[in-house]
């Protein structure tokens, strides 16, 4: 950046030469008006963050080569057509963060090559019908964060080349039929954070190129059936609304859909065919739709990778679930009433399964067979009494298995050698103490009883394991030895506190590095199971 002394540069601005052209930066200089004496070779002019409240007529009339004009962050209330006269080559006009209350109507701005117009963060309550008559080449329009109460339908009619527009953060309550009918090139439309309560069924007619539609944070009461005409739609958002049902064949007109965000809606009902024939959809999440009794028919929605359907009323799963969803990676079906499981055999890409809080009783050998990519399986809070010995045998990638709060008396360990996390708490009939040899990579294990953690050295972590294993007698002397091992402070006369302290730290670090087993044995939960069953 050159200093202000350069001859072409009006004080106190900073100028930079770009070949024969000039880039002028007058931002944040406390200016109250547009500087005079700007070179006709100016291509970039930044007047942002000043105190300019008015633009004198013909202030830029010599700047025919100006390509970008920034007047954001000033106090402008109105800009007449004459103020912007002469800017034949202007492509970018930034007027955001001013106090604009209205736009010119009778003599609109004449900017034939304008591509981007920023009017966001102003005080516009409406847009006159003729406001955009002189900017027909416009492609990108920001009108967000204003006070519009309706879609400026007439004004938008003058913008056949518009490709991206935001009307977000206004007070629009309704979208009428044919609101955007001339915007055949529009690709992105943001309407989030308005008060849209209703939409006419033909309100999106004419939007032949629309790919992104954002209706989040509104007050929609009904599913926006008007989207049916949007054949190119790829991304649709209507989360944080007040929609209670998704009808049958809801997205029949939108085969290109890749993402649909509709969380934070009180959705109770979902048509069984609502999500059919969406071959590019990769994520579907439905939470709390209590009226869903049947698993949705996902025929033709073959690219789904993440399916979340929780807190509904499902009691069964289709047998051909995996044939319909061969690319499924995450299946989250917690908080339903599922009793029987199909074979997930064809879902070979599955990495995570969440089936917690259901009513499953048995796990067959075929249920999770061939799921060589499965890493996490949550079956907690069910009623599982029996698991086939081979149920987990081929789950080579499984590292987390949660069987908390079931009715198991035994657990097959075949195939579980890779586990790092195993949870069995709450299986009150399960007494077996699993040998650490079964789980060489184990880091966190939860058992029904404390004594089952003793095999992990939690009981006698101050004594060499081998010496501990070879002693078989059960006399008082052994009891004394174990007590000394557990509580070194009671050791006999040769006791060396420093050596003891040093040993304690080694064992502690060894313990933490190996396995965290809970519930941890202690004085009131000794390693020996008293009277054959643990009472105290």
């Amino acid at each position: 950046r050159q200093g202000p002394a350069a001859p072409l540069c009006p004080s106190p601005c900073q100028c930079e030469e770009d070949g024969i052209f000039v880039m002028v930066d007058c931002s944040e200089m406390g200016l109250s008006s547009v500087p005079t004496g700007l070179s006709p070779l100016t291509t970039y002019l930044d007047l942002s963050m000043n105190n300019i409240s008015e633009i004198q007529p013909r202030a830029f009339h010599r700047l025919h080569l100006l390509s970008e004009l920034r007047i954001s962050g000033n106090q402008l209330r109105y800009i007449s057509g004459q103020a912007l006269q002469g800017l034949h080559n202007l492509k970018v006009l930034m007027l955001q963060n001013n106090q604009l209350e209205r736009l010119p109507d009778d003599a609109p701005w004449d900017l034939p090559n304008l591509l981007s117009l920023r009017l966001d963060a102003n005080l516009l309550s409406k847009v006159p019908a003729e406001a955009f008559r002189g900017v027909r080449s416009l492609r990108h329009l920001w009108l967000d964060d204003n006070s519009l109460t309706e879609i400026p339908v007439m004004a938008l009619d003058s913008l056949p080349s518009l490709q991206a527009m935001t009307l977000a953060l206004n007070q629009i309550t309704h979208i009428p039929d044919y609101a955007f009918t001339n915007l055949s090139a529009l690709v992105v439309l943001h309407l989030h954070n308005n008060h849209i309560k209703s939409m006419d069924s033909k309100c999106f007619e004419g939007l032949l190129s629309l790919e992104t539609l954002d209706l989040n944070y509104n007050d929609l009461q009904e599913f926006p059936v008007a989207i049916r005409t949007l054949s190119k739609l790829q991304e649709l958002g209507f989360h944080n609304n007040n929609i209670k049902a998704i009808p049958e064949r809801a997205f029949v007109g939108n085969p290109q859909l890749q993402t649909i965000h509709f969380y934070e809606n009180p959705i109770q009902f979902v048509g069984k065919s609502a999500f059919q024939f969406l071959p590019k959809l990769h994520t579907l999440s439905l939470n709390g739709a209590t009226q869903i009794q049947e698993f949705p028919d996902l025929k033709g929605t073959t690219s789904l990778e993440i399916l979340t359907l929780t807190r509904a009323g499902l009691s069964a799963l289709p047998l051909d679930l995996c044939e319909q969803l061969p690319r499924l990676r995450v299946l989250e079906l917690s908080y339903n009433q599922i009793e029987d499981l199909p074979s997930f055999y064809h879902c070979s890409a599955l990495q995570e399964i969440g089936l917690q809080h259901n009513q499953i009783r048995r796990i067959e050998s075929s249920t999770f067979q061939q799921l060589s990519s499965l890493r996490s399986l949550d079956l907690s809070w069910n009623m599982i009494e029996w698991i086939h010995p081979d149920a987990f045998s081929l789950l080579h990638s499984l590292i987390k298995l949660d069987l908390t709060e079931n009715r198991l008396s035994s657990v097959p360990v075949a195939g579980l050698g890779g586990l790092t996390h195993l949870k069995l708490r709450g299986n009150t009939e399960l007494y077996e103490a699993f040998s650490p040899d079964h789980f060489p990579h184990m880091r966190v294990i939860e058992m029904p009883y404390a004594y089952q953690c003793c095999v992990y050295g939690s009981c006698d972590s101050y004594k060499p394991a081998s010496q501990w294993d070879t002693e078989q007698s059960s006399t008082n002397e052994d009891l004394h030895k174990r007590t000394v091992a557990m509580y070194p402070i009671h050791a006999d006369t040769h006791y060396d506190p420093d050596l003891e302290e040093f040993q304690l730290e080694i064992e502690e670090s060894k313990l933490q590095a190996s396995v965290q087993c809970t519930p941890t044995p202690g004085p009131f939960r000794p390693c020996e199971s008293l009277l054959g069953s643990w009472l105290v």
Partner: protein, 115 residues
């Protein structure tokens, strides 16, 4: 042509800060301004601006206004999926920056667009 980041000054004297510290710059912005964390060496300085810097787009919401990075092939963009100007070597068509143009269009290096 790299424009100066307009609508911004650094440190605590910035016009846009609502709260700030000399070390971290703006901690919050005046209403309707965008907060952007600018990296200067190892430090990150909070900067309040009327428009996000090149290579970022602004997202307004009732709580705050943030700057988010455009896709790598875009010099500037309207949102994450819609570019308004491409990086050298890419050509703009309907908001997408591609190395080649669709049928019926040719590459314009001056405008970096398919025309």
């Amino acid at each position: 042509r790299q424009h100066k980041i307009s609508g911004v000054s650094s440190g605590c004297q910035q016009g846009g800060c609502l709260t700030c510290s000399d070390y971290n710059g703006c901690l919050s912005c005046r209403p309707r301004l965008f907060m952007h964390l600018e990296r200067i060496g190892m430090k990150q300085i909070g900067v309040c601006m009327t428009s996000c810097p090149p290579g970022f787009y602004g997202t307004r919401s009732p709580e705050r206004n943030t700057c988010t990075k455009c896709r790598s092939e875009c010099d500037s963009c309207f949102n994450r999926h819609f570019c308004t100007r491409c990086r050298a070597g890419f050509y703009l068509h309907l908001g997408k920056c591609q190395e080649n143009c669709p049928e019926g269009h040719v590459r314009s290096d001056a405008q970096r667009e398919c025309v």
